[in-house]
């Protein structure tokens, strides 16, 4: 359906125009212009409105046709029926369009025809299109923000290495908001909506060679061209981790199938086979999506599946070990020399094994020392630290002491800190220390499994 081709200009534009930029607060075009200005987009920002001399203090162009130069991105927040005409007039003046308007393929037969007209017009005019029916781009690198959700309703994350692709705009906005709240930075978030032109495969091709992106998470309902997706995702996953949540798993399979194979092969089984072929780690639902974002937003890929569990609550430690087992991670026993080393420094009533139980006598220092000693050398790939805040010696310095740093541990550390009021108010401290923190053992182990390359799911 799409022709491919380079879309990198969407992510390093010299100019962004907002078509139909309204001076009226609350209008979508007004929110977008405000967000772009507020995000600190430092290049040329151009409101397009024949009825206004200026909007928000920015000089208006009466129409795109009158632009003295080629504009990299034009955001169209105008009624669906006006889009084809506006695109036609943009010929030669615009490289890429972000069409946030709805009322296209998602809205019945008339919408489908209109969508086809958009594609045909864009092709003729030589304009690449993101959307329609999308939020477009939130880019922490280039500072482009076409999401028409006000900043007070959905927070904007800072800069980081995570990039997110989502067909669904509402999902992209919620994910963005959650990441902002967790203090996790992003590179690019693209909501591509109906994907009339630019789709997940185009984005994956761009992200594969995007130096700002260190990991990619896709939220996917369907793909237009499965084989192209497999190729693009394979290329991207050979460069950096690529993960995907597939929703709409239980749609009818091949209804008219005449063999067992045909009857069993639902859409989801084939998607899983495709993810596997493409080296994409499959994420099971929203919780795992969150876990993956936290894990890869703050830590890097784990070298393997061997987990060291460090806790001050024996019961919680055993629960984590069980969860590890269930997701295909190994809570391998302590090697003899490591056990000796720990016995030499810790009191006899600590339980020196894996899980390592520092008991109610735990201190900030004993936690930090445990992480440092077990994670140096080649015995383990990931540490899960389950810190329960009961022991009186624990202080608010603990999170900072566990933060990854050279000479301490450069392997991934995941924190689990369940509990009520007191514990919850400590979550922020772990976030500030750049540690992925979870309130349940299952959440922490899911994150560890994602870092280790995905659970072995059947």
């Amino acid at each position: 359906m799409t022709g491919g081709g380079d879309i990198s200009f969407f992510f390093k534009p010299e100019s962004v125009a907002v078509v139909g930029a309204s001076p009226e607060p609350g209008k979508i075009s007004n929110i977008i212009l405000g967000n772009l200005a507020g995000a600190g987009f430092g290049k040329r920002l151009v409101p397009v409105n024949p009825g206004q001399a200026s909007v928000m203090g920015l000089e208006c162009l009466p129409s795109l046709e009158e632009s003295p130069e080629v504009i990299d991105i034009a955001v169209f927040a105008i009624p669906a029926g006006l889009v084809p005409g506006a695109l036609k007039r943009a010929e030669g003046k615009v490289r890429g369009a972000v069409i946030v308007s709805g009322g296209f393929g998602e809205a019945g037969e008339r919408g489908k025809l209109l969508e086809k007209e958009v594609l045909d017009t864009a092709r003729k005019a030589g304009v690449r299109v993101i959307g329609p029916n999308c939020l477009g781009i939130y880019d922490a690198v280039s500072k482009v923000d076409t999401f028409f959700i006000p900043v007070d309703r959905a927070g904007r994350p800072g800069r980081g290495g995570l990039s997110i692709l989502s067909q669904s705009g509402s999902f992209a906005a919620v994910a963005m908001d959650e990441l902002a709240a967790e203090g996790i930075g992003v590179a690019r978030i693209v909501s591509y909506g109906n994907a009339v032109d630019v789709n997940e495969s185009d984005c994956l091709e761009f992200l594969a060679s995007d130096p700002e992106t260190s990991a990619v998470v896709i939220y996917m309902e369907s793909v237009a061209d499965g084989r192209r997706f497999v190729e693009a995702a394979s290329r991207c996953s050979s460069e950096k981790p690529v993960m995907a949540v597939k929703v709409g798993k239980f749609g009818a399979g091949a209804a008219a199938a005449r063999s067992h194979t045909g009857a069993i092969a639902g859409r989801y089984e084939i998607y899983r086979a495709a993810f596997r072929k493409a080296g994409v780690t499959e994420l099971d639902g929203y919780e795992e999506f969150q876990a993956a974002c936290k894990a890869f937003g703050l830590q890097g890929r784990a070298g393997g599946k061997r987990v060291m569990i460090i806790t001050d609550g024996g019961g919680m430690g055993v629960g984590i070990a069980d969860a590890c087992h269930a997701l295909g991670l190994e809570a391998a026993p302590l090697p003899d020399e490591l056990e000796k080393e720990l016995r030499a420094v810790f009191p006899p009533y600590f339980s020196i094994s894996n899980p390592l139980d520092l008991t109610g006598s735990a201190t900030d220092e004993s936690f930090a020392m445990s992480v440092q000693k077990t994670m140096s050398g080649g015995h383990y790939d990931i540490a899960i630290v389950a810190a329960l805040w009961g022991p009186p010696a624990l202080t608010d310095s603990l999170p900072g002491m566990l933060a990854q740093k050279p000479g301490f541990s450069e392997k991934p550390i995941i924190v689990c800190t369940p509990g009520g009021e007191y514990s919850r108010s400590r979550l922020r401290l772990f976030r500030e220390a750049g540690l992925p923190v979870f309130t349940t053992p299952e959440g922490a182990v899911r994150a560890a499994a994602v870092l280790a390359g995905g659970r072995r799911r059947r």
């Binding site: 499965g226 084989r227 063999s259 067992h260 045909g262 092969a265």
Partner: protein
């Protein structure tokens, strides 16, 4: 695949007759061209032909109905196994014709297969489907309840490598049944992997085949035999 043209010829002929599926002898010819082993068999039109085929092949034999209108022939009494002599063959034949006339009076009967009885082994299913978005894919599962009830199967996009095929076999829950569970004999995993690879190749190269299924593939300590096969065209 060396025999691609020959396979396509079989498929084209069936389609030119307006058929949407291959009957068992055709499906077996297709997989056999891809060098998947099938039991010795012969298609016959009448009782005399059946007697002759059975004595050539050697008792015990299986007798199966060939009809483009019955893809699930065992459901309507279209399969008789372990026929020991000519008397039993005659009885089976009569029963089958009566049953078919009763259960599916409109079905066209093209003939019968007389086939050597495959030895006992572990039954598995190897299938192929063509997906609208992702193209050809292959499926593996252990026979019977494991597939039909528990859906204990694995999928990969085709074509598949040897490593992928072995991965498909080992990832199903019922895998231990192939490696000597409860004193059973370990089965020839390489033969299964080879079959999966070949089905993947057929699916990848012969685009007119929409579904292909070997059910069962009987797996032995050495080797495997495709005892039944079907294909959907389109």
């Amino acid at each position: 695949m060396a025999e691609k043209a020959a396979i396509e010829k079989i498929v084209k002929e069936a389609m030119s007759l307006g058929r949407k599926a291959l009957v068992e002898p055709e499906a077996k010819a297709v997989i056999n061209l891809a060098s998947i082993l099938v039991p010795r068999h012969r298609v016959v039109k009448d009782m005399a032909g059946a007697f002759e085929a059975a004595s050539d092949i050697g008792y015990p034999v299986a007798l199966k109905l060939v009809s483009p209108d019955m893809l699930h022939k065992s459901d309507i009494g279209g399969v008789a196994l372990g026929i020991k002599d000519s008397k039993e063959l005659e009885a089976s034949w009569s029963r089958m014709v009566l049953s078919a006339a009763h259960e599916a009076p409109a079905a066209v009967i093209e003939g019968f297969i007389v086939e050597e009885m495959a030895g006992r082994g572990t039954e598995v299913i190897v299938g192929g489907i063509r997906d609208a978005q992702f193209g050809p894919a292959v499926m593996f599962g252990l026979g019977g309840v494991a597939v039909e009830l528990l859906k204990d199967v694995s999928f990969r996009l085709a074509p598949v490598s040897r490593e992928e095929a072995l991965g498909m076999i080992s990832e199903v829950k019922s895998f231990p049944l192939l490696t000597g569970f409860r004193g059973g004999k370990p089965r020839d995993l390489d033969a299964v992997a080879e079959t999966i690879i070949k089905v993947g190749r057929i699916m990848d190269e012969v685009s007119a085949i929409k579904e292909l299924e070997i059910n069962p593939l009987v797996v032995y300590e050495r080797g495997a035999l495709a005892v039944d096969a079907r294909a959907v065209l389109g």
